[in-house]
C-alpha cells in the first residue's frame, strides 16, 4: 500500500523534472543496453554454432593435422600449425580404423578460382570425395554432386556465394571456371550452408569442391587439412576417436602431432570461448552500469538538498524517518528501473540492427531481460540509499527553515 503511494510520488517527481530524470537514467540505459547486447550477441552466436553442430550430428569426428587445434576453424587457425597437413598414408591409416563408416578428406588446392571476367579472392578450393554431401548432411540444390567414378573428372560443385560472386547467377550449371589454369565445369550448386561466426567448420558457401584425384593431379601431392569421419555406431564415437588416435600415432612414430575432435568437445570448447568472451565484454559493459548508478546517487543527493523544505514539511505532518527513506529509495529505484526498461528496448533495437546488417543473430532470452531489469533496480536502490539516508536524517526544524 505504502509502496504504491511511494511509486506514485516517485513518478510525480520524475515528471516534474523530465529532462533531468532522463539524463539521470541515461547511464543506466547505456549500461543495461550494452550488457544485454553483449550477452545476446554471445548467446546468438552460441545458438547458431550449436545448431550447426547439431545439424552435423554429434557422432561426427574431425581429424586435423597439428597439435591442439582449436575447436573452431577461425580461432583454431591462430593456434594450429598450418604448415602441417595429412598425407595419403595418414588418410589410409584413418580409413583402416575399426568401426568406421564414412571418411571424407578435405585437401587444400591453393589458388584462386576465376572465370574469364571475374575471380574469387576470398573463396577456397577443396579436393574431396563423393561422400561429402552425406557427411555434411548438405543438399545439392541444383545439379548433382560428383560420383565415385568422377574422381578424375574436371567438374566442380560450388557453394551458393561462389555462384553469385563468380557467375552472378544462381544456377550456373554447365558453365566453367578455372583453377590453376585448368577448366572445371560446374555440375552442382549447394544449398545454403548454415554458417555462424566462430563456426567449427569453414564457410562452405564460398567453397569450390573438386574431385579428390583431380585435385591431387593439380597440386602434385595431396595436402589434407581435415578429415571428417563418421562411425558405424554413433554410441561408439569415443572409442572410434581413440582408435583413430592410436592408428595415426602409430603411423607417425608414436607422435601425436594431430588432433581428433568429437563434436561434443567442439561444442564444449566453443561454449567455453564464447562464455569467456561474452562475460569479459559484459563485465566491461557492467562498469557503465556502475557509472549510471553513481549518476543516480549524484542527482539524488542534489535533489535531497533541493527538497529539504519538502522533507521538513513531510516530517512536520508526521512522516517517520523510515517513510522519508522509503520515498527517496523508491524514487531512485523507479528512475533506474525505467532506465533499465528503456535500456532493454534500446538493446532490442541494436539487436535488430545486427540482424539486419550482419550474419549474427543475437538472441535475447527472457531470463536475460529479467535479470537486466532486476540489476537496474538493484543498482538504483543501492545507490539511492545514501541520499535517502541523508534525506531521512534531516532535522525537521532545520529542514523547515531551509529556503
Amino acid at each position: 500500500m505504502r509502496l504504491k503511494a511511494n511509486i506514485k510520488m516517485a513518478f510525480a517527481s520524475i515528471r516534474s523534472a523530465r529532462w533531468r530524470s532522463f539524463l539521470t537514467m541515461l547511464g543506466i540505459i547505456v549500461g543495461v543496453a550494452s550488457v544485454v547486447v553483449t550477452i545476446s550477441l554471445g548467446e546468438g552466436v552460441r545458438q547458431q554454432v550449436e545448431g550447426q553442430i547439431k545439424q552435423l550430428g554429434s557422432d561426427l569426428i574431425i581429424v586435423k593435422p597439428g597439435k591442439n587445434v582449436g575447436a573452431s576453424s577461425s580461432l583454431g587457425a591462430l593456434t594450429a600449425n598450418n604448415a602441417q597437413s595429412f598425407t595419403d598414408q595418414d588418410l589410409q591409416a584413418i580409413k583402416t580404423t575399426k568401426g568406421i563408416k564414412t571418411v571424407v578428406p578435405f585437401s587444400t588446392v591453393s589458388g584462386v578460382a576465376r572465370t574469364d571476367d571475374s575471380e574469387l579472392p576470398d573463396g577456397f578450393i577443396v579436393g574431396t570425395t563423393e561422400l561429402l554431401p552425406e557427411i555434411l548432411r548438405q543438399r545439392v540444390k541444383y545439379g548433382s554432386f560428383f560420383a565415385a567414378d568422377d574422381t578424375n573428372r574436371k567438374i566442380a560443385v560450388i557453394g551458393k556465394r561462389v555462384a553469385q560472386d563468380l557467375f552472378h547467377e544462381t544456377v550456373p550449371l554447365g558453365k566453367s571456371l578455372q583453377v590453376r589454369g585448368e577448366r572445371y565445369v560446374v555440375s552442382g550448386v549447394f544449398d545454403q550452408f548454415a554458417t555462424s561466426p566462430l563456426s567449427p567448420t569453414s564457410d562452405y558457401n564460398s567453397a569450390v569442391f573438386i574431385p579428390y584425384e583431380s585435385a591431387r593431379t593439380l597440386v602434385g601431392q595431396s595436402q589434407i587439412y581435415q578429415v571428417l569421419v563418421r562411425p558405424i555406431d554413433p554410441e561408439q564415437t569415443s572409442q572410434v576417436a581413440k582408435n583413430i588416435t592410436a592408428n595415426l600415432s602409430d603411423a607417425h612414430g608414436k607422435q601425436t602431432d594431430f588432433t581428433v575432435l568429437k563434436q561434443e568437445e567442439n561444442l564444449a570448447a566453443t561454449n567455453k570461448i564464447l562464455t569467456l568472451l561474452t562475460s569479459m565484454i559484459a563485465g566491461i559493459a557492467a562498469i557503465s552500469l556502475l557509472v549510471g548508478g553513481i549518476g543516480i546517487m549524484n542527482i539524488m543527493l542534489v535533489s535531497v538538498t533541493e527538497r529539504t523544505k519538502e522533507i521538513g514539511v513531510r516530517k512536520a505532518v508526521g512522516a517517520t524517518n523510515r517513510q522519508i527513506l522509503d520515498q527517496f529509495v523508491t524514487e531512485a529505484a523507479v528512475i533506474s528501473l525505467l532506465g533499465g526498461v528503456l535500456g532493454l528496448l534500446l538493446s532490442l533495437f541494436v539487436d535488430y540492427l545486427f540482424r539486419l546488417f550482419t550474419d549474427i543473430k543475437p538472441a535475447v532470452t527472457v531470463p536475460i531481460m529479467g535479470i537486466a531489469v532486476l540489476v537496474a533496480l538493484v543498482v538504483g536502490m543501492f545507490f539511492g540509499i545514501l541520499p535517502a539516508i541523508k534525506a531521512a536524517s534531516r532535522d525537521p526544524i532545520e529542514a523547515l527553515r531551509y529556503e
Binding site: A12, S13, V313, R314, A316, V317, G318, Q323, I397, L400
Partner: protein, 288 residues
C-alpha cells in the same frame, strides 16, 4: 489532567561560551480546550516552545508529559508518530508542497498513517469544505491567495483530527481581512473543543484566546486568563501607552508587545548576544 504539562523545560543551543538559552526552565500546563495565545518579543523562545510542544524538537532538560504520557525522551520515529496522531501544525509561511494539489496537500498527513488513497482524498475534501475551499481542491498552492493558502494549511492540520493545533504566527504573512478569516476558523475549532496554541505579535488577536502567555528571554513572564472577545487589560494598558501604533502597523501585524518591550532586552546581560541579536522588530515585521 492537563493535556500538555511541561516541567523545568530548557532548550540550549551550542556549547561553551556560545551557548544560547532559548528556553530556561519553563513550566507550563495546558488543559484540553484552551486557546492559548503566546506573545513575546522576537527571540524570546516562542517558536522553540511550540516546536517542543509539537514534538518537532526535544528539550535539552526537563520533562514533557503529553496526554499523560512522558514524551521528552522519545526517539524520533516515535515522536513522528505521536506528532502525526496528536498535533496539527500551521506555519507562518503556509509550507504547502508546491508540486501537490491543495487536496493532496491536505491529505498528506493521512498518507503517513497508511490510509488508502480514496479514503484519504475523501476525508481531505471534507475538511477543505469545512475551511471553505471546496472549489480550490485541484488548485496548486501557488494559485492560491495567502489567506486561501493558510486556510488550506489549517485544513491539513485538521485532517487528522489532532488534539492540539499549533499555529506559529499564522497571520504573520496575511493582511487584516485574511487574518480575520483565519482567526475565525481557529476560534471555530476552539469552540468545538479543540486545544490551540498560537504565537502572535498582534495583541488584537488575543481577543480570540482564552489564555495569554507572555514570554521573554526564554522565560514565561506572564500568564493570564482572558475573556474571549476581549483583549486582556494589561495589554490594553500597554496599547494605551503606545499611541503610535497606527492602523497601518496593525494591518501589518506589528505588535504592541514589541513596541512595549524592546528596552527590556538591554537588562538581560547574562544571556549571550545571540539571544538578543533579534532584529529590530519593527523593521522585521513591517512588511508593507
Amino acid at each position: 489532567m492537563p493535556i500538555i504539562n511541561l516541567q523545568d523545560v530548557s532548550k540550549l543551543y551550542g556549547f561553551g561560551d556560545a551557548t544560547t538559552v532559548a528556553l530556561e526552565e519553563v513550566n507550563l500546563s495546558i488543559e484540553r480546550g484552551e486557546f492559548v495565545a503566546v506573545m513575546g518579543p522576537s527571540g524570546s523562545g516562542k517558536s522553540t516552545l511550540m516546536n517542543i510542544i509539537g514534538l518537532l524538537d526535544r528539550p535539552t532538560h526537563g520533562s514533557y508529559v503529553l496526554n499523560g504520557r512522558s514524551v521528552s525522551r522519545l526517539r524520533s520515529n516515535q515522536r513522528a508518530k505521536v506528532r502525526r496522531d496528536t498535533v496539527g501544525f500551521v506555519f507562518q509561511s503556509f509550507n504547502l508542497l508546491p508540486k501537490l494539489t491543495v487536496l493532496e496537500n491536505v491529505a498528506l498527513p493521512l498518507a503517513y498513517k497508511g490510509m488508502t488513497q480514496t479514503r484519504r482524498l475523501k476525508q481531505a475534501a471534507a475538511v477543505l469544505e469545512r475551511v471553505g475551499l471546496s472549489d480550490r481542491e485541484y488548485f496548486y498552492p501557488k494559485q492560491l491567495s495567502g489567506g486561501q493558502a493558510q486556510r488550506a494549511a489549517i485544513a491539513r492540520a485538521l485532517v487528522n483530527n489532532p488534539q492540539i493545533i499549533i499555529a506559529d504566527e499564522p497571520t504573520g504573512n496575511l493582511d487584516s481581512a485574511a487574518s480575520r478569516l483565519v482567526m475565525e476558523l481557529l476560534s471555530d475549532i476552539h469552540a468545538m473543543g479543540g486545544t490551540i496554541l498560537m504565537v502572535t505579535h498582534n495583541p488584537e488577536l488575543t481577543r480570540f484566546a482564552s489564555r495569554v502567555v507572555f514570554m521573554h528571554d526564554g522565560d514565561i513572564v506572564g500568564d493570564k486568563q482572558s475573556t474571549i472577545g476581549q483583549v486582556p487589560k494589561s495589554l490594553r494598558k500597554r496599547m494605551y501607552y503606545l499611541p503610535k501604533l497606527t492602523e497601518e502597523d496593525r494591518i501589518a501585524g506589528v505588535s504592541a508587545m514589541m513596541k512595549a518591550f524592546p528596552d527590556k532586552e538591554a537588562k538581560s546581560s547574562k544571556r549571550t548576544t545571540k539571544a538578543r541579536k533579534a532584529k529590530k522588530p519593527s523593521t522585521r515585521k513591517a512588511k508593507k
